[in-house]
């Protein structure tokens, strides 16, 4: 449990750092940092219940997209403002690194396995974001269509 709290906290501060690099200012800075921590909380919760490597990443991707779309709607800011920093902790850096390490040691099957693992994780996150963002686009265009028809 303690390690989970530390992971969420470090995700928060890492996202905070990235938000500063992207010049996010004011209250948005805090909201964007929270997005990274929220994504990792969703990952950890799902990881505890699901017996799968891909599902937690999918859920985490979908949840940060949901978070940023709601924040974008609430604060009239572009969703990218929150999604871009919040996405960073989910990037499968560890999987890529292990694949690269295997490659440098001449372990080609380990390298292939690592790359497939990376693609699996990356694909799950991206699918989660695409699903949620598309859903919000549908809602927005749906509301617009209904309004103009009246």
């Amino acid at each position: 449990m303690a390690s989970m709290i530390i992971a969420v906290l470090s995700a928060f501060f890492a996202t905070f750092g990235f938000a500063i690099l992207y010049n996010v200012r004011g209250k948005n800075l805090f909201i964007a940092s929270l997005c990274g921590a929220f994504g990792w909380i969703c990952y950890l919760v799902c990881d505890a219940f699901a017996d799968s490597t891909m599902l937690p990443y999918f859920v985490a991707g979908a949840s940060i997209a949901l978070y940023s779309e709601i924040a974008a709607y609430a604060f009239h800011s572009p969703a990218t403002l929150f999604l871009t920093p919040g996405f960073i902790p989910l990037v499968p850096g560890g999987a890529v690194y292990r694949a690269m390490e295997a490659c440098l040691q001449g372990d080609i099957s380990g390298f292939a396995e690592g790359m497939v693992n990376t693609l699996k994780i990356g694909g799950s996150i991206v699918l989660g974001i695409i699903l949620m963002s598309s859903f919000f686009r549908l809602i927005r265009s749906g509301i617009k269509t209904i309004k103009t028809r009246k």
Binding site: I6, A7, S10, A11, F13, A14, F16, G17, F18, I20, L21, Y22, N23, V24, R25, N28, H76, S77, P78, A79, T80, L81, L83, T84, P85, F87, I88, P89, V91, G93, G94, V96, Y97, R98, M100, E101, L104, V126, I129, I130, S133, S134, R137
Partner: protein, 251 residues
């Protein structure tokens, strides 16, 4: 809506805004959408706009006359705060009609709005390096090393940018410096968790804006813009991998 602005002025405004959206790290679809909305709001019969990450092409048509402007975005300088401000400005001028000089003044104001000082960037790099080292399973020792190496990577990157090196070289140099500096740190901290620290610091080089915009462009069915960004991210990843490859020499 009947507008007092001439076709030429509307074209100038939408080009200025579309150009800035792309430059400050907005998606291609956001630029296209905003330009179309403003053009329509200011009485243009047709607005045709095509944007990719590096260029935007706008044609506005009114009473059978069409005018075109293109802008080339040679360097993206990500600044989400200015993107936010441009976004709210375009919302505002869409809902209430504003005259040309006021809009141009607003745009100029946004251009000059503050950025975090460069010294804060060093702390941000250090914080990212340290936090991610902990995130990937490190402890206090890994945090400190990640913190210091992260700050040093900032100087490597700034130096490479000062020499106007191509992005591929910048990223490869950053990754190579990370691996080498952490190797040096193991002399002082023999029990250092090398992989956690290395992954943590390398996360600094992740092209976050590119990745997010690429996904969002695909969602908005802007496949041309999205594919170009995917290629760029793969190239960045290859550069980082190449940089990590220098660790072969330290074995």
């Amino acid at each position: 809506m009947q507008s007092s602005l001439s076709q030429r002025q509307v074209l100038d405004i939408v080009s200025a805004i579309g150009y800035r959206i792309l430059r400050f790290g907005g998606e291609a679809n956001r630029a296209e959408d905003t330009v179309t909305r403003i053009g329509r709001a200011y009485g243009m019969n047709e607005v045709h706009v095509f944007a990719i990450a590096t260029s935007i092409l706008i044609t506005v048509e009114k009473d059978g006359e069409s005018m075109t402007q293109t802008r080339r975005i040679s360097k993206v300088s990500t600044d989400l705060d200015k993107l936010d401000k441009i976004n709210s400005l375009s919302r505002k001028i869409c809902s209430t009609e504003t005259d040309f000089d006021t809009i141009m003044n607003h745009i100029r104001e946004i251009d000059q709005s503050p950025k975090y000082p460069s010294s804060l960037g060093i702390w941000a790099y250090a914080l990212i390096g340290g936090s991610f080292s902990v995130f990937f399973g490190g402890g206090v020792c890994e945090f400190m090393v990640g913190f210091i190496v992260g700050a040093l990577i900032r100087f490597v990157k700034k130096g490479a940018e000062f020499l106007q090196s191509p992005p591929f070289v910048t990223n490869a140099a950053g990754a190579a410096a990370t691996v080498s500096l952490i190797k040096i740190c193991t002399f002082f901290f023999p029990s250092l968790n090398i992989s956690a620290t290395t992954i943590g610091v390398l996360m600094i080089l992740v092209p976050g804006v590119l990745l997010t915009n690429c996904i969002r462009d695909f969602v908005a069915t802007d496949y041309t813009a999205g594919t170009a960004k995917i290629m760029e991210t793969f190239l960045v990843a290859a550069a980082i991998a190449l940089g990590v490859g220098v660790s072969v020499f330290w074995r």
